[in-house]
Amino acid sequence: MNLVYLILLPLLTAVLILLARNATQVKLMALIGSAAQIGMSIYLYVAYTTEAAFSKGTQMYFEKQYEWFPSWHITFHLGVDGISVAMILLTAFVVIAGVLVSWNVEKMTKEFYFLLILLSLGAYGFFISLDLFILFFFLEIAVIPKYLLIGIWGSGKKEYSANKLALMLMGGSALVLVGLLGLYFTTPEHSFDLMKLSQVHIPVDVQRICFPLLFVGFGVFTAIFPFHTWVPDGHSSAPTAGSMFLAGISMKLGGYGCLRVATYIMPDGAKEYSTIIIVLSSIAILYGAFATMMQKDLKYINAYSSVSHCGFVLFGIGMLTKTAMTGAVMQMVSHGLMTALFFAVIGMIYERTHTRQVKEMGGLLKVMPFITTLLFIVGLCSLGLPGLSGFVAEMTIFMGSWEHPDMFHRIATIIACMSIVVTAVYILRAVGQTAMGPLKDEYKNLGDAKWNEKAAAIILLTGILAIGIAPSWLNDLIKPATEIIMQKIAGAQ
């Protein structure tokens, strides 16, 4: 299949949305478009698996290369491996869920959906691009839509949060840019091409400079400690779909970049800095968990827990073992689905109760069983209940990181494990206070989920369960890719 369609489809959708005459048309366009996305991504998965079954060992599938700024040796080079396919699936799921959840946005509907679709465009482009220049291009495309989404449709201190988000992400991409340039000029035939870069051996001293730049740069996107502070504010002020996209997709861009660009191209750097990465990410994991424990606003709770969970991603990458890396990717997918659902649920609750303060709720299970059941499920998922996606990912990471026999990695792993207890604490606090306990009078006659909310939830839930109950498909999807990366790392001195 031609990967360009993955970019053209959202583009076309966006154009149609702009052309649409009224709100309902816009929504329909968006829905159809995102449905098409999901169809296409599933088709991609199928095609990929069949292809991969035939030709084992090839790294990238469906490669396409178009001339673009030839004088800079930039080519529009596309291709996917298991990891990208997984991320694309995730994106498609989150996108359609987001579109559905924000069905009753009245304010500037057209612009809203336009920006949403633009975001998805950025994500797809990012995941399929094999040329670091276009990768960067797509990375930055996503920044402004986020800013506008939060700033225009957000709530609370939205301007502040939007600014913070845009600027911190910009800072991240600035670092990335410098790192990329460093790589570009160290390669003999100045090239941004990932495949080419992966073949040449980057001098170690260059790696020493560029790896941290790239890793931290991408890390900002996935809330590396201490650059995570845009996450709570950004998520909490964003509109529901906005938070879903932020946490579900765009935080994953960072993780993907850390893995695919920083770690893969600069194995020496990765090895050299892995200790620091592990320290930072374990801090993020436990620290985020404890910080979550003190939060009172549902969105803040989920935001901080996202910090903690994305810590697992970096943790897995930093461990530099195949299993842990696979786990990291799984965690990206699982966390993406889970947190998207979580935000969707929070949004549903907020729409009804008009508060996100945990204290002010209680006993909602009585009036909105569907939504609160979702809340239970997603909460359990995030505390790693077997049968849901979180368990699979985290266990894989633990198993992988335990493969290091030395004390440091052991302790780091144990610290990471501890977070699952803290997670249990805060999740139960939140869920317990929200769904259980006596019901407040003012909430006596609230309604349960509507069709669109149900649809969105079910879509995401399918993903979560599909991973949680039968993880092997995802595992088999990701493993070959991580194997290749690990080979490169093993090759490094």
């Binding site: 700024f69 030839p70 004088s71 800079w72 930039i74 800013y147 506008l148 939007a162 400079i209």
Partner: protein, 466 residues
């Protein structure tokens, strides 16, 4: 003779238009509207003509030199002037001295043309003055505004001062080398202290026009005081032209002293970016804001120039300026429409603009994003290539600094965006019906902002010219 005409084509065309305007003015025949339409048409023709018969060659000894690249640069300026004639139609129509304005603008443009293709310090100086003095007059064209004449005063005096220093430098250069022609100077350069002094004095002359820190201080006041059309002309056309000749001067004339001016560029570009950004943060008046933002942009241009491969540097700078023409003119165009309709020039007045004028808001947003270097706008590519060119010497500290500066600039561009899209305002700018010409101009700018980046062949075309 034929060759004479082809080489001097663009200059001759402009001269013809100037005299045409003079005669029309004398024969007081045509109303402003018709005249404006005619001028726009002429400029369009001129722009189109600019694409053909571009040859390499020199005239008048080696005083005048042209090549396809130079022709292209001139045509970028032509484009800019054409867009100006479209974008500020509203203001032109109302102005009683519209033809004079165009006469002055075109003679300044003529000066720039000669400046770009000057092969000799004398011509350079003369054309520089020709590109400056009429503009000073243009600054004063809001005849009954105090700040307008204040701005004009500041401009004429400080430019006279700077040209004094420039001249002093030139005279010493003449003494030290005995020649004025660009072709012969490099041979005579040996980097002696006096020559460094000469270099600095000449450099400051350029720096003044490019408004590089610390020679930039006139910029903001003049921009604010001037009528927006003039401001646009100053910040886009004259900056662009001076940047072109600046590159040639550095790469061709002062090549032997590159070690010195490279450091100078690094130093000043850092200073320029910092100052420009820091001042832009606080600005309330949109023109002043754009003035400082353009100073920061100049900082980026310097980064591009500081590349170690002339070809890379020249191409990226020319490319950037092409993009800069589109984005900056779009911003000024929107500002002009709003101020000429409602007289509002403060950023706070832009609050809630999106509610009433979505088209203008989107164009403005596009322009600002392009200036901030956000994809998919062309500005992203322009900035990126500048930085890449500058990074070719791979000193990471500098490049990192430059990249981080993009954050600050994004911050203040977002201030405007926020005002337009997010902030509430109970008395926003009311619905504006835009003059068709202006609309056309804005659309062209918007299209340019989006397409110039995505169509990579444009870049390669420029590269082919260098």
């Amino acid at each position: 003779m034929n060759e004479f005409c082809t080489l001097l084509k663009s200059e001759l065309l402009i001269t013809v238009i100037i005299f045409l305007l003079l005669f029309i003015k004398i024969g007081k025949g045509i109303k402003n509207d018709g005249l404006l339409a005619m001028i726009q048409f002429l400029l369009l023709m001129n722009l189109i003509a600019g694409f053909f018969f571009n040859k390499t060659g020199s005239l008048f000894g080696d005083m005048f030199f042209t090549s396809p690249l130079i022709a292209f640069q001139k045509n970028i300026l032509n484009l800019g002037v054409y867009l100006i004639s479209l974008l500020f139609a509203d203001w032109f129509r109302k102005h009683e001295h519209m033809p004079e304005f165009f006469i002055l603008m075109l003679s300044a443009l003529l000066g720039m043309f000669f400046m770009i293709s000057s092969g000799n310090l004398l011509i350079f100086y003369l054309s520089l003055e020709l590109a400056t003095i009429p503009v000073a007059a243009m600054v004063n064209f809001d005849l009954d505004k105090k700040i307008s004449s204040e701005g004009a005063m500041k401009m004429i005096l400080s430019s006279a001062f700077s040209s004094g220093i420039l001249l002093f430098g030139i005279s010493l250069m003449y003494g030290a080398t005995g020649t004025l022609s660009f072709a012969e100077i490099p041979a005579a350069l040996d980097g002696s202290p006096l020559q460094i002094l000469v270099l600095v004095f000449l450099f400051s002359g350029f720096a003044f026009k490019l408004s590089i820190v610390p020679f930039h201080l006139w910029t903001a006041d003049v921009y604010e005081g001037a009528p927006i059309a003039t401001t646009a002309f100053l910040s886009v056309i004259s900056k662009g032209s001076i940047a072109f000749i600046f590159i040639t001067a550095l790469y061709k004339v002062f090549q032997p002293m590159s070690a010195v001016w490279y450091n100078m560029l690094i130093l000043l570009s850092v200073a320029t970016m910092i100052i420009g950004n820091l001042f832009a943060l606080r600005q309330q008046n949109i023109k002043r804001f754009l003035a400082f933002s353009s100073i920061a942009q100049v900082g980026f241009i310097l980064v591009g120039i500081s590349s170690n491969s002339p070809q890379l540097g020249i191409t990226s700078v020319v490319y950037f300026i092409l993009i800069y023409v589109f984005s900056n003119l779009a911003a000024f165009g929107v500002a002009a429409v709003i101020s000429s309709q409602s007289g509002k020039e403060k950023i706070d007045d832009y609050k809630g603009l999106y509610k009433t004028n979505p088209f203008l808001s989107w164009i403005l947003a596009l322009a600002l994003f392009s200036l901030a270097g956000i994809p998919p706008t062309a500005g992203f590519f322009g900035k990126l290539f500048l930085i890449t060119a500058g990074a070719s010497k791979s000193n990471y500290g500098f490049v990192t600094f430059v990249a981080l500066n993009m954050i600050v600039s994004l911050y203040y561009y977002l201030i405007v965006v926020r005002a337009v899209f997010m902030d509430k305002n109970d008395a926003p700018v009311e619905k504006i019906n835009i003059h068709p010409a202006t609309k056309l101009g804005l659309v062209i700018c918007g299209a340019g902002v989006i397409l110039v980046g995505l169509m990579s062949w444009i870049y390669d075309y420029i590269l082919g010219l260098t």
